[in-house]
């Protein structure tokens, strides 16, 4: 398969970036999009050129490290699949494929396709700690969680923090990410003592770096962990609940 790759190249956060066009003549349909970039880098190195900087780690959809926009879609043309799980077979022979870094003001480009996603880490840090019994391991079944709640909490805990929701959002909002974290911790007894305090600080932190939500729903269509759109309503539910708690931590 022959593909034309248009790749965003940017030397550093303050550098002016531009697109670079390359041709790959030996792409195969079963290649993942990351393998396509590997192939490109191979070619660049062979020709004594700088390889394209992009992030990847597990390449099996569980780490959330890979993150780039392909033809303007977070992770690639398929919905709800991380870049490592998307394949060249989505494109036709001779097609132009454009790779750009995740699109959001809150994700400044570090180099080429790598963006700084520490804004999401700061949201997690703002959440602080949760109270759990330390010391000897508790007896089994001392902390009861119903099956349904456990399953639901796990659905929200599936978020891998890749940042595709922010890139998908026309407003650069991190509501789906923040909502997934708040929803997962609100459903289980661990961290119950800090529920209101966590909502206040996490949402304040989210607002200081990310945009407001307009309920458009692009985030849930991009999310490789399939976090449901209801997560965005959890943000306001938790914040309103915390408001009625008048400064109490739980």
């Amino acid at each position: 398969m022959r593909l034309i790759l248009e790749v965003w190249r940017q030397d550093g956060p303050d550098a002016e970036g531009s697109f670079e066009t390359h041709e790959i003549t030996d792409a195969t349909p079963e290649m993942s999009l990351l393998e396509l970039l590997d192939r490109l880098n191979h070619q660049l190195v062979e020709n004594d050129l700088d390889p394209v900087a992009f992030e990847s780690d597990c390449r099996e959809g569980i780490c959330g490290t890979c993150g780039l926009d392909v033809n303007g879609n977070p992770h690639g043309p398929e919905d709800n699949v991380p870049a490592c799980g998307q394949h060249v077979r989505s494109f036709s022979d001779g097609q132009t494929v454009r790779f750009t870094p995740f699109r959001a003001k809150s994700f400044p480009v570090l180099r080429d396709l790598i963006v700084d996603r520490t804004g999401l880490d700061r949201i997690i840090q703002a959440g602080g700690t949760i109270s759990v019994d330390a010391g000897t391991a508790p007896d089994a079944d001392t902390l009861l969680v119903t099956h349904d709640d456990a399953e639901r909490a796990l659905d929200f805990a599936a978020c891998i923090g890749c940042g595709a929701c922010v890139s998908a959002c026309p407003n650069g909002a991190a509501y789906l990410f923040t909502g997934a974290k708040l929803a997962h911790l609100a459903l289980i007894p661990h961290g119950k003592e800090e529920r209101a305090r966590r909502a206040r600080s996490v949402i304040a932190q989210m607002q200081s770096e990310f945009g407001p939500c307009s309920q458009i729903g692009e985030c849930a269509l991009a999310c490789p962990a399939e976090i449901p759109l209801v997560a965005i309503a959890v943000v306001n539910r938790e914040r309103l609940r915390a408001g009625f708690k008048k400064g109490k931590p739980n």
Partner: protein
């Protein structure tokens, strides 16, 4: 004996793990603005439904002019004799103006915040309904805002854009002998102007777009997470939008088609 904390003022100086330095959230906080938009938006939706119920009196058989004018008179004298004259009407108008100011202020502030945080590269978007209606909320909102001003000038105040037959003095005698202002004739005269009637119809479609996304946003902004409630709101959003557009837009069309006359 080890010194107590009171004897060791230097303990205050020991650096402890600090939260990372970040800027405070912009004020008023985004979530508060969203709740304000949802609250004032809910007021407007209730208002629109009551307004529509009043408008539809033009379709009542036997003297629609009387029914419509009677209703208009009832609005102006609502809660009499508990409060004198048009006290309720003016209190209601004050609430609506305040709600409108808050709604527009919050909407613009949120739009500016969203616009600042948008990234530089072009995106391919899913062509979902909420994409169309959600992305155009500011523009539909601004059109509706200008329409509100036009509508007040046209049929309430009677300045600049009113029909040449407009009058706040013209009266109509109800069957019980009460003499009331003839709001009905102002309405008919206004809609007999074709460009104005078409403008009203177009704006109703814009309002339907705004409502369809706005009602869906309300359930999210109030933090409604129950699946069934969310589905009900998703359905209500389109239903109310349809009712408002069909109910209201039919009146100027009916006047143009000659179905409603004095």
């Amino acid at each position: 004996m080890s010194p107590t904390i009171q004897e060791r003022p230097d303990l205050d100086q020991i650096p402890v793990a600090k939260r990372p330095a970040t800027s405070p959230p912009p004020r008023p906080q985004t979530w508060i603005l969203k709740v304000i938009m949802a609250t004032t938006g809910s007021i407007f939706i209730l208002f629109l439904l009551f307004h529509l119920a009043g408008n539809l009196k033009v379709y009542l058989p036997d003297d629609p002019q009387g029914h419509f004018n009677e209703y208009a008179h009832w609005l102006r004298t609502l809660l009499n004799p508990l409060v004198p004259g048009s006290t309720f009407l003016w209190a209601f108008r004050a609430v609506m103006v305040l709600a409108l100011c808050l709604h527009v202020y919050s909407g613009l502030t949120l739009w500016i915040r969203a616009h600042r945080l948008r990234g530089r590269h072009a995106r391919k978007v899913h062509s979902t309904k909420h994409h169309l209606t959600g992305r155009t909320m500011l523009w539909s909102g601004l059109i509706i805002l200008s329409f509100i001003i036009f509508h007040l000038l046209d049929l309430t105040i009677g300045r600049a854009v009113e029909s040449k037959e407009f009058s706040t003095k013209a009266t109509y005698t109800l069957h019980d002998g009460t003499v009331v202002t003839d709001a009905y004739s102002n309405l008919i005269h206004s809609f007999e102007r074709a460009p104005v009637a078409i403008f009203y119809v177009v704006v109703m479609i814009v309002i339907a777009f705004h409502l369809s996304h706005g009602i869906w946003s309300i359930i999210n902004d109030f933090g409604g997470t129950a699946h069934r409630t969310r589905m009900v709101f998703l359905f209500l959003a389109d239903l109310i939008a349809l009712i408002v557009v069909i109910g209201n837009a039919s009146i100027p069309l009916a006047v143009l088609a000659g179905g409603l006359t004095l």
